[in-house]
Point group: D2
Chain length 316, copies 4
Amino acid sequence: YSQRKSCWYEEEIEENLRWCFALNSILHTGATQFQDIQLLDTKPFGKALVIDGKLQSAEIDEFIYHESLVHPALLHHPNPKTIFVMGGGEGSTARELLRHKTVDKVVMCDIDEEVVEFCKSYLAANSEAFCDPRLELIINDARAELEKREDKYDVIIGDLADPLEGGPCYQLYTKTFYELTVKPKLMQGGIFVTQAGPAGVFSHTEVFTCIFNTLKQVFKYVVPYSAHIPSYADIWGWVMASDYPITLSPDELDLRMKQRINGENRYLDGKTFVSASTLSKAVRKSLDVETHVYTEGAARFIYGHGHGSTHKNDHA
Amino acid sequence: YSQRKSCWYEEEIEENLRWCFALNSILHTGATQFQDIQLLDTKPFGKALVIDGKLQSAEIDEFIYHESLVHPALLHHPNPKTIFVMGGGEGSTARELLRHKTVDKVVMCDIDEEVVEFCKSYLAANSEAFCDPRLELIINDARAELEKREDKYDVIIGDLADPLEGGPCYQLYTKTFYELTVKPKLMQGGIFVTQAGPAGVFSHTEVFTCIFNTLKQVFKYVVPYSAHIPSYADIWGWVMASDYPITLSPDELDLRMKQRINGENRYLDGKTFVSASTLSKAVRKSLDVETHVYTEGAARFIYGHGHGSTHKNDHA
Amino acid sequence: YSQRKSCWYEEEIEENLRWCFALNSILHTGATQFQDIQLLDTKPFGKALVIDGKLQSAEIDEFIYHESLVHPALLHHPNPKTIFVMGGGEGSTARELLRHKTVDKVVMCDIDEEVVEFCKSYLAANSEAFCDPRLELIINDARAELEKREDKYDVIIGDLADPLEGGPCYQLYTKTFYELTVKPKLMQGGIFVTQAGPAGVFSHTEVFTCIFNTLKQVFKYVVPYSAHIPSYADIWGWVMASDYPITLSPDELDLRMKQRINGENRYLDGKTFVSASTLSKAVRKSLDVETHVYTEGAARFIYGHGHGSTHKNDHA
Amino acid sequence: YSQRKSCWYEEEIEENLRWCFALNSILHTGATQFQDIQLLDTKPFGKALVIDGKLQSAEIDEFIYHESLVHPALLHHPNPKTIFVMGGGEGSTARELLRHKTVDKVVMCDIDEEVVEFCKSYLAANSEAFCDPRLELIINDARAELEKREDKYDVIIGDLADPLEGGPCYQLYTKTFYELTVKPKLMQGGIFVTQAGPAGVFSHTEVFTCIFNTLKQVFKYVVPYSAHIPSYADIWGWVMASDYPITLSPDELDLRMKQRINGENRYLDGKTFVSASTLSKAVRKSLDVETHVYTEGAARFIYGHGHGSTHKNDHA
C-alpha cells in the first residue's frame, strides 16, 4: 500500500498546464538580490533548483541538459583550451567542461553571487568543479565582462535565461551582441553554443527558431539540436554556431569522447548527437521559414511570449 | 489580464508526478462494459480522450502517435494492401492507414463496441475513416479474431494497452502470441508494428525494452523508435518487426510518402524517422542488455511496474 | 473501488489556501457585461454558481445562506409586506421572501441582466419564484433605483458583493448610503439586513466588524449573526439594523415561522437563531473594539483586504 | 506583487473535496510504530501536525479544539482535581487542563510513544505542560490502563481518533466501554467528555449523532456542542456526559473561568458555550432521531463512512 502524497511542488508550465512533483522536503527558500531561489527535494526528480518559480535543474536529469550544452561544441572543436561561460552559476556546466582534458581554463561569469554561493554549498555533484584550479569564477554582467577582457576563447557558452523581451538576458541573444561582442572574442576555429529554449513540436516557435535565425545572420555554420528533458516535460533546444564547419561522424565523436573526456557520458554519444541534431519535420520547417532576428532596436514584445519558457534565470 | 484557471483535469502520470490541463468543458463522462471513458475539452491540448483515468489521445498531438505507429511499417513494406489492427477503436490508426493508396483493406478489431461508437460520434477527424468502404470494423478479442481468420496480412498493427501483467492486453505481447498467432498471419514480406509504451531516458525500462526483446526472439529484424508526445509529457516508443530487412534511406522514405500517401504528414518524414529510430545512448544500452521475454507462463509481476504507462486501454 | 477523481474546480479562498471540488461537468461558462460566470456540477456540493472565479452559491447548501439572510429580518418585523432587495439576481433571496404569507411585493434590483437571465434558465429551485406575480424584477444600479423610487419598504435587503474598496459594491456599504438612501426608504418599524462577509474566528475582521460598526452609526439597534456554510469553507455573517428593537425569544420566532412561512425551513429555527446571534468571544471582542466606518471620502484601501471574501458579485 | 505559491499541502477531506495549504517548509516526515507523522510549516495555519495524511492540529487554531474539549467539562464540575486523558499525545489537552488551579493530577495515556516524544520536541506551546509535575504520562492502551488502575477521576477525557469501525479507537466509543470501563472510574459528580467528530450541517451524521446516542444509553445527562475550526474546514463536535446535571448559566461559567483558570481563554467563554451547545435545527433533528448505538458485537461497517473524519489518530 502506498499512501497518497500530500506535499507537492506545482509549476505552471503555461497558463493552462501544470506539472507537479511530490515533495520529500523543502531544503531552502530564499531571495537573492536578483531572484527568488528554492531548493526542493522532490520524489520524482531528486533535488530541484527552482528560480523565480521555474524549475532550473533537477538532480536526476540535469546531466541531459548539461552534457548537451557542453560536449557537442567542445568535441567539434579541434583542441578547446579556453572557455567562457555566460551564466552557469549552478556549476554543472563548469563540471562538464572540466571533464575535458584539453581544457586549461574556464571563465564562468554569473551575475548573482548568492545563487553561485548557494549552489556551491548545496549541490554536492558540482563541489569538485567549484574547487578546480582551472575555474575562474567571476561575478559580473556577462556582456560587460566579455567586452572588458582582452582574451579570446576557443568556446563561448551561453547558459542563460531565455531571450524574453524585457527579461534580464534578452540583450545577450541579439544579433548585435553576437556580432560585436561574442564573435570577436572567439579564437580562430572557435565555437559558440547557447541553450535555446523549448524545442518541442509546438514549443519550438517560442524562442528556438529565432535564436537559430539570429545566429545564422552572424555565423557561417549554425547547428540546432535538441533533447527531451523529463523534468521539464518538454524537448529542449541548443544552437551551436561557428565560422568553421561543424561536422563530425558519430564514430569521430565517439572517438574524441574517449580520448578527451574523463569519465563516461550518461546521455550523449555520437549516435545520440546524430539523433539530437536531426530535427523533426515540423521543427525543420519552422527553422526554414523563420525570419525574425533578435535586435536591440526592434525588440518585438510578444505578450506572454515565453511564459513558462524561462529556462535559465542566471542573469549573466 | 488573464484570469487564473479554475477547472482542471489532473492525471497522475506516476504516483509522484501529476500533469494537469485547464478545462474548457467536460464533453462526456461514461462507462462501457470494459472501461470508463471521458471526453474532455482541454485548453492546452484540445479534445482529449481519457480512458480509465489515463489520457489516450489529445486532439492537437495525436497525429504524432498515429503517424509514428502507422507510416514506418507501411512505407518499409514494398506494397502494403491488407492490414490488421488490434485495438485502435479510436479510429485514428485507421485514418492514417486509409491515407495509403496501396491499401485495399483494413481490418480493425477492438473489443469495446461502446468506445468505438463513442469515438465515431465524437471525433470528427476520424469520421471519414469510419465510413471508408475499405475499413472492416470487428468487435472481438484481437487474438481470437486473428486466430479465427484464414487471411494473412501485409501489416499487422498493435494499438493496444501496455503489457501490464494482469492487464487486459498482456497476452497480446507474449512470445507465444507473436510466434503462434501474429507471425503465421503475416504474408511474405509482412511487417508487424506495435506501440511499445514510454521510451524516455528513464521510462523506457518499464515495457519498451521487454517488448523489443520479446520481438527479437521471434523476428529476424526488429526496429525500435520513439517520439516526444507533448500531451503525454514523455517520449513514446514503437517497435517494428519482420523477417525481411527493414531499411530505407530518408530519401527513399520521402519518395514513398510522396507516391503512396494522400495528403501530407504533419510529423513524420524521412529525416524524422532517422532521428526517431536513432535512440539515445541510455536507451540503446538498455535494449542491448534486456533479457526479459514476455511469456504467458513466466509473467513476472512487478509491483506498480507500469503505473501510469497504460497508453491504450482498448482491450482488443 | 472508487476511482481517483480527475476533474476539479479549484478556488483560491486566500492566496495561501485552496478549496477544490471534484467535477461532474461544466454546465456553462460565459461572460456578461459585468462579470464572468460559470455553472458547474460539482460532486460534493451539487450545482455551483461561480462568478469571477468565486463560488457564489452551491445547490446543496445555499439554503443556509438565504434562510439566514431573509427570515430573521422578516420574522422580527411585525408585518412585512414590501421588500426591496439590492442584488439577489440568483433568485434564491426572492424565493425565500416569497414564502412569507405577509409579503405583497418584492422589488429585486440587480445590475446584471444576463446573470439574472442565466439563473432564471438554469436554477430550477428558483423558477417558481421568478414567476411569482409579487416579484418585480428591475435591472438597475440599486442605489439609483432606491433613490428614484418614492416607495418605502418594510424590509430592505443587501444581497451584494463585499465592500471591497474599489469593488463594485463598496458605496452600498457606506455610512452615507445607509443614512441618506436606505434609512429614509424604510417604513416605520422597518428593518435593514445585509450579508456581511466572512465571520470566522479569524476572517471576521475582513469586513464583518466594519459593516457592523458602520450600521451602528446609523441605526439604533444592530444585530450581527453568523452561520457555517460548508461550501464556503467558512462561517458567514449578516447584520440586521433598525431603529426599533429587534428581540424575540426562540419560541416567538418559531411561532411566527409556523404562522407566516409556507413550507418548513431546513436550517433556521428559533434556537438556531439564538446560536447564530450569540457570537463567540473573539468575534464579540472585535465587534466591541472596531472603530472603522465605511465612508465614501475616507475609504481606506487595504491591500488584499478582502481577497477571497467577495461573496456576492451581483453589482446592484 | 505576490508570487504564486508553488509548494502545497493537500488533504482529501472527502474523496471529492480537497483542502490545500501553501507550505513554508516540511519540518519533519517520519513513521512511528503506529502511524505516519508529518510536521509542516503552512502559510495559512502555521505549524501543522499531520498524522496518516490527516491534519490533526494547526498552530493558529488548535486552541479552539482544545479549549472546547477541556474547559466545559472542568467548569461544569464543582471541583475537578484528577483527570484522565485517553490519547492526547500532542500535549495541548494537558496544557489546557493544567491551566485549572483545581487540578492536582492529570494522567495522560497515549499508545504512541514516538508521537508523544515528537510533540514534546517540536511543539513549543506545550513544552511547559510536558514538564508540569502534575502530569503523569503513560504509554499504554487507554482501555487497559483505565481498567488496570484503581483510581477514579473527576473528569475523563477522550481525545482519540474517530470511531471508525475497524479503526484503532472504535472500541473506545462503545456502549460497553462507557458502561463497564469509563463510568466506574468516574468519581461522584464526575464528567466524561469526548471529541465527537465533524458536526457540520451535513457531516454531523458521520459519527457525532452516534456518539451522542451511545452516551445517552449510559449517562443520565448528555450535552453535545460544536465549534467551527478553520483549519478543518468544518464544524467540530464534542459530547459531555454525566449522571449529574450539567447546567450553568453563561455568567456562572464566566465566573468559574475567572476563578479557576490561569490566563485567559482565547476562544471559550460563557456566551460562546451557550452558542456552541445550542445546535442548529438540522443537527438537533438528527440527534433526536438517531437510534444507532456503538457496540462491539454489532459494529456496522459503513464503507468509507468516516473517510476524512479521522480527527485524532492517537491510538489510546
